[in-house]
Subunit: 340 residues, 2 copies
């Protein structure tokens, strides 16, 4: 199997370019079957790369002098900054010069660029962003957390199919359980969107639909693929991050509040750091933007080398398991049957 060609946006993210480039080099040095294309300011990238020893045939640089920042309006930035590290890289994916792109840059620009530059696969109505959420059983895919607010039932059905293919091929979950986020577990509950989507999911033979999931059951890993429209998905993702951070912060503050509990804190420290590691999704790569002509992976803006490295391995697994073709086949089938 030929190496997966992966663009890494060297200029995007809080710790770019230093930690981003370091992650790319580490992936190569750890045996990633990939060819990495670093997009960004050539001189800066070169001087960063000079710090490391690695197989230089595995990494090339494509110069891109512009940068998209979080202050740029996403859609117009993608349209006007044609020579930015992100847009140059996305064009390479579009043109088949690369299989995937990884970026820690502006979320809005990544989402906009995925749709406008890379473009959707035939049959895909909307491209969902699908991060993994840590649960007490492992990880669940939350689909969609992207920019597709006000989705329609047929979009959610496609999200369910794409999410199932992703979990089966990348996370190796057999027959992944698909559920729709709802405010009760009865079929007749929910808002208009959920009520219309539910029967579509129930009737779909290509997924293992288990019904509604209440938000309280998400942390318990009650489903593998959690379907919702982007507004709700974004609320779930952000609250997950914010609440976990706040609670752990308060616990830490409490432990530091007395001498006795400080000693206690020292004794539980190693056990807790194991737990923290388990809930840290940085070893799980980034959030894929699915259903595009290539793979776009959004990693956290505060990503370091570890996140970049695991996203590179994620892209390789994605390519080696031919996930994009499987998605195109599945959603193409839908087009055929709707033409019948």
């Amino acid at each position: 199997m030929s190496n997966t060609k992966i663009v890494v946006d060297a200029m995007g993210g809080d710790y770019a370019p230093e930690w981003i480039i370091r992650g790319a080099v580490e992936a190569i040095n750890e045996g990633a079957k990939a060819h990495i294309i670093l997009t960004g300011k050539e001189d800066i990238i070169k001087s960063e790369l000079a710090k490391y020893t690695y197989d230089s045939s595995a990494i090339t640089i494509v110069d891109a002098q512009e940068e998209i920042t979080c202050h740029d309006a996403p859609v117009s930035a993608v349209r006007t900054k044609k020579n930015s590290s992100l847009v140059v890289g996305m064009n390479m994916v579009k043109n088949g010069e690369a299989d995937a792109i990884i970026s820690a840059g502006s979320s809005g620009a990544i989402l906009a660029g995925g749709q406008l530059v890379v473009g959707r696969s035939k049959g895909v109505k909307r491209s969902p962003l699908a991060p993994l959420l840590p649960t007490n059983k492992g990880y669940s895919l939350l689909i969609d957390c992207g920019a597709n607010v006000d989705a329609r039932p047929e979009h959610l059905l496609q999200f369910a199919k794409m999410g199932s293919i992703y979990m089966e091929n990348i996370e190796k979950v057999k027959n992944p359980r698909v559920a729709i986020v709802n405010i009760g577990d009865e079929e007749e509950k929910g808002n208009a969107l959920v009520k219309e989507t539910y029967p579509l999911l129930k009737a779909c033979k290509d997924i293992n639909f288990i019904g509604s999931i209440e938000a309280r059951e998400i942390p318990n890993g009650a489903a593998d693929v959690i379907v919702c429209e982007a507004f709700v998905g974004n609320v779930i993702l952000k609250l997950y991050e914010g609440l976990a951070k706040m609670l752990l912060g308060e616990i830490k503050k409490t432990i530091m509040s007395s001498f006795k509990s400080k000693i206690g804190g020292l004794l539980i420290k190693s056990s807790l750091s194991g737990l923290k590691e388990r809930f840290n999704a940085k070893n799980k790569g980034g959030a894929p933007l699915l259903g595009l002509k290539g793979l776009v992976v959004k990693i956290h803006g505060n990503s370091h080398n570890e996140e970049v490295k695991s996203a590179i391995f994620q892209c390789i697994t994605f390519k080696e398991n031919d996930v994009n073709r499987k998605i195109a086949d599945e959603l193409g089938k839908e087009m055929v049957s709707s033409n019948e």
Copy 2:
């Protein structure tokens, strides 16, 4: 000031009637300026009350032989079980024989009964359910978590006003900060509902609107009144409960996993229980269903005496601060100005 007349649904909830009745008696014994009306099976209530010493003139029983359970379809249960402890109590509120009702029974039936039996105040378009969420700064009111899915912008505007009045009068927050749940903090972000609601909130002179709030900021107490439609509110509330429970459970399991960390756990136990107490909303009463002709308070299905007791004090504060009249005045003003 005359005593507040409060119905307590003696038959609703996992720990009814024993712990519910105990909470009512304790409130009276702790000096609550209330007259309590216990609705439910008279003989059972009588034998429970016989366990306690209390001012018997402060508690009366109104017999209601039926019960609404969680298995009943809410709307039809409210319509057909006219002699249930919940419906009998709600009719007393409707008829002015009581100021408020507290129930730990079926959420669906409480919401349905509030709208169908007690009825909305003049000018109120929808009645929101508004629980308090614990944050690292105190408490924020999440409005709406009820059954009003697919709300319209004018409903959310009313929720913002009612929530402000509640926080000002009950939680004594001066000039409460109102924010709308959104997926970014710029004005142009959001789904169709948020985009239409935002300018209404911004233009409203009666509230202190501070803009959008991302879900990640909710645990940090970034706003006092958090406005959203019920589907999103329900997701936030349930995820808040579920994630906090899961994380604390995992931490406990981790601490118990080794001898060393078990000892550490013992040393931090008292500090952590203070934290747990701070995040426990049971001393904050229940979730009010606002904008009705009387006050309906939904307490958790697993409520014990403490929750009942604090809900009784909540109802007294509500009455003594004339919150219902303030809401009616505020929303009535809106009717006048829309007629101009």
